[in-house]
Symmetry: C2
Subunit: 213 residues, 2 copies
């Protein structure tokens, strides 16, 4: 088993010091990702973002040559936030059921904490972009696919460890667990009622208990 | 058990003949509902809709005094479509597990048939409006709540009939079944791959089998 999160967090050796230009770009993209969960990635105009971050539109244009470039960079920034808050910390748990549950708990925490005001960035993006083919949708879909793969890998690891029924299909179970998270996230965003997130926990418990051997 | 759909469909006595004005309004709202699943309810400007239905903006303005009025009427129209295609036909099945499965099948059919290009109107609306409080969001949420209530009622009916475990919590099971539908719908819209809808069927089968007594 790997070390718990608090042993790693004080200094993260993988983070190098950023230059001012980079820090500014990162700060702009964090704001862009937050804004995109409210106004949509398509609502992410350079003008609106300039307002939100207090920069001139031409200053922003120097960072991102086009709206599409800004959208793609925003998806990358959201992926990085997700890695930091959900995927890496959960990765510190033992492979299998523990890590699977940690993915779910970390996901629910980031929704409840309002990291993005519109809930999970990728649920928001997928809802918006489903009908809009192109590189921006592809970028968001690639992340969702990666997330489903991570969940399926941990189902398979749990089966290999003898903890879950070997007959179950890992991608199918990943779909089901992710479905609970996606709906719980949408309901929480619309109602601010943590009961929606408890439903996710209960659903995942019931599903994993039914598969336990 | 009630009569099958084909016995009722040739003439629907509840439908009265509409006047030209009403028919035109209904046609406009059907197009508005379709458009809203692609461009968002917020993207539903009178100008864009006028383009889509081939009317002047001022002609549309005579029907709907404001954008919000148009949005609310669109939600009502989408509810009516949903009633016609999903809720009423499923209601012809016996209460309990049969009707529950019919709700799911009809829902998946309407997604696969592309009744709305962006998939389920209400998933699309909830994804967009979660962070936008107001009467339009309330209207969409009320429909989603009604749908969850219908599902929970059929879980309870199946319990009363001795078909499902009486210990299960009907609103929780409704949440889980709806979660499969919501995610399957989003994946199908983004990929056009019916495998996403098969995942929903398999998930619902597994969940209902686990609860069968």
């Amino acid at each position: 088993m790997s070390s718990p999160a608090h042993e790693r967090s004080p200094s993260r050796p993988s983070r190098r010091r950023r230059s001012d230009g980079e820090r500014s770009r990162a700060a702009i993209l964090r704001e862009a990702a937050r804004l995109a969960t409210v106004e949509g990635l398509d609502g992410l105009s350079l003008a609106r973002l300039a307002d939100a971050v207090g920069m001139s539109k031409s200053g922003l244009f120097a960072h991102f040559g086009s709206k599409e470039e800004l959208q793609l960079a925003t998806i990358e920034a959201a992926s990085a936030i997700y890695d930091d808050l959900v995927i890496e910390p959960a990765g510190e748990q033992a492979a299998g059921v523990r890590r699977l549950r940690a993915y779910i708990e970390r996901f629910l925490d980031h929704v409840q904490e309002g990291v993005f005001p519109g809930g999970c960035f990728f649920v928001s993006a997928m809802g918006e972009l489903g009908t809009h083919p192109g590189p921006v949708r592809d970028g968001a879909m690639a992340f969702s696919q990666r997330w489903l793969t991570l969940l399926a890998e941990q189902v398979a690891a749990a089966q290999a460890a003898g903890d879950l029924d070997p007959v179950a299909d890992p991608p199918q179970i990943a779909f089901e667990l992710n479905a609970y998270m996606v709906l719980g996230n949408m309901q929480f965003v619309a109602t601010s009622d943590p009961a929606a997130l408890d439903r996710v926990r209960r659903a995942a418990d019931a599903r994993l208990s039914a598969l336990a051997v």
